[in-house]
Symmetry: C2
Subunit: 278 residues, 2 copies
């Protein structure tokens, strides 16, 4: 919409590929060097771009700081964190929290396994959207049409022989997940790693986040992991209750609409830092 800003922002993914010099940036943008220079300078002033000693540009520190602040201000994360820690203390495995945004699903919190074997993942990293338990949970209750459209658009990389192979299989899997209210990933991303997950439900009754427990085969078998399901669902429900007053599994929360549930229900859904506009 705004040409100048558009060009400037296009520099970021370009630099994410690796450091580049002025000439290359100008070339890739299709603009004159002097133009690229001015854009880079502006990005530099805001700390989004850093000029290293060999004069080439790369992504800058402020980007981290921003991503940092962004993830910390997510209210679901705030509420969920203690529950995740709690769950981790009970079962010892890696616990993840993820949200769906735009066309990606990404981890926003993680509590590391207490076992020496750890899986590779990082907060902010987009998940394998076609196989991860959390991704299935979040996409499962998208509106019908969106779900179909998304499924068509996706790639279906075969990480392992048990990865979701195509859109049809994926939609079928989503239907199952939607119905049962929980999801698994049994070796679909990495041969030896299994996950089970459950959704965090928002005020509108849809999944606002999803959590999962992951463990490698060498620690527990898939069957053993599945015995944790009740615990995982209870944790997810506890988060949902605190976040929105609704829960994903069990009886629908009519009681939330009926009398005054007093106990733990009507917490403020969003936690705004300052409310200065009366």
């Amino acid at each position: 919409m705004s040409q100048t800003v558009d060009r400037a922002l296009s520099i970021l993914p370009l630099l994410a590929e690796g450091p580049a010099d002025l000439g290359r940036v100008a070339e890739r943008l299709g603009v004159h060097k002097s133009t690229a220079l001015r854009l880079l300078r502006t990005l530099h002033e805001h700390g989004l771009v850093y000029r290293q000693s060999d004069q080439r540009y790369r992504l800058g520190a402020r980007l981290f700081a921003l991503a940092q602040q962004a993830v910390e201000s997510l209210d679901v994360r705030e509420i969920a964190h203690p529950h995740l820690v709690d769950l981790n203390e009970r079962c010892g495995h890696t616990v993840h929290l993820a949200v769906h945004e735009e066309h990606e699903v990404l981890y926003i919190d993680k509590v590391e396994s207490r076992y020496p074997v750890r899986m590779y993942s990082r907060i902010g990293k987009p998940v394998a959207i076609t196989v991860a338990a959390v991704a299935k949970l979040l996409l499962a209750d998208l509106p019908e049409t969106e779900r179909r459209a998304l499924a068509q658009r996706l790639d279906y990389p075969m990480y392992t022989s048990r990865s979701t192979p195509n859109a049809t299989a994926f939609l079928k899997e989503l239907a199952t997940v939607r119905e049962q209210g929980w999801a698994t990933d049994l070796g679909g991303h990495e041969e030896s790693i299994n996950c089970i997950g459950a959704p965090v439900i928002g005020a509108d009754g849809r999944a606002v986040a999803a959590m999962s427990v992951s463990a490698p085969n060498v620690v527990v078998t898939a069957e053993e992991l599945l015995t944790l399901l009740p615990l995982v669902r209870r944790t997810a429900d506890a988060i949902s209750r605190e976040y929105s007053g609704r829960t994903g599994s069990g009886p629908l929360p009519d009681r939330a609409l009926a009398a005054s549930p007093a106990a733990a229900s009507p917490a403020p859904p969003h936690a705004h830092p300052t409310e200065d506009h009366p």
Copy 2:
């Protein structure tokens, strides 16, 4: 330098404080609503800004992905990581790696303590620049003038009674660090946490990164932690050797210039995807 881009980028830190609606953004920027709208739309198209269901804007997913890619393309980090893991396995404590950029020092890697007590820090988070061991190491071998200028410009928050109180004390501390080639933070940031650190030396002989081991008092006393110093320095030197062939401590690397050290020295200093500067 470029007004439009400047304005657009100013939105990011603004949203980092928390979600905001169009009106607030326009007001904070001092521009008309329609202008703010166009800027936000452009940011949105690039995924840097996300519009949540209540129509308010907040920072978007791509920011995470970018920060992610940026940190992963740092070559020091790549080289250092296995050494950090190794060190963690030997001593059990939290290990950090940090770099200096612009006017900040920030963590770019971390291996969590194996003890239940963990300290709060996160990759991408700027460190307490006046007290952290890694910060002292990185600032210690800045050119004289830059160091003085920086020291004057800084704030000196008294996190604890042992925090660096002012510029004079800081410069003196840096001189010590520079001379001895390692640094400590004994309760200067959090009363009960001690750190020791050592620098990673680049091809130009200056610190390109710094690493540290941190542990709370309840696990090991400061004296006990100091006994790890040789191990920490050896690890930092190993990283330096692999990264640039030079080391920080011990005899100056004449031998690196003399015969062929065969063993572990002349690794490619930078791992650029494409080497376009011969």
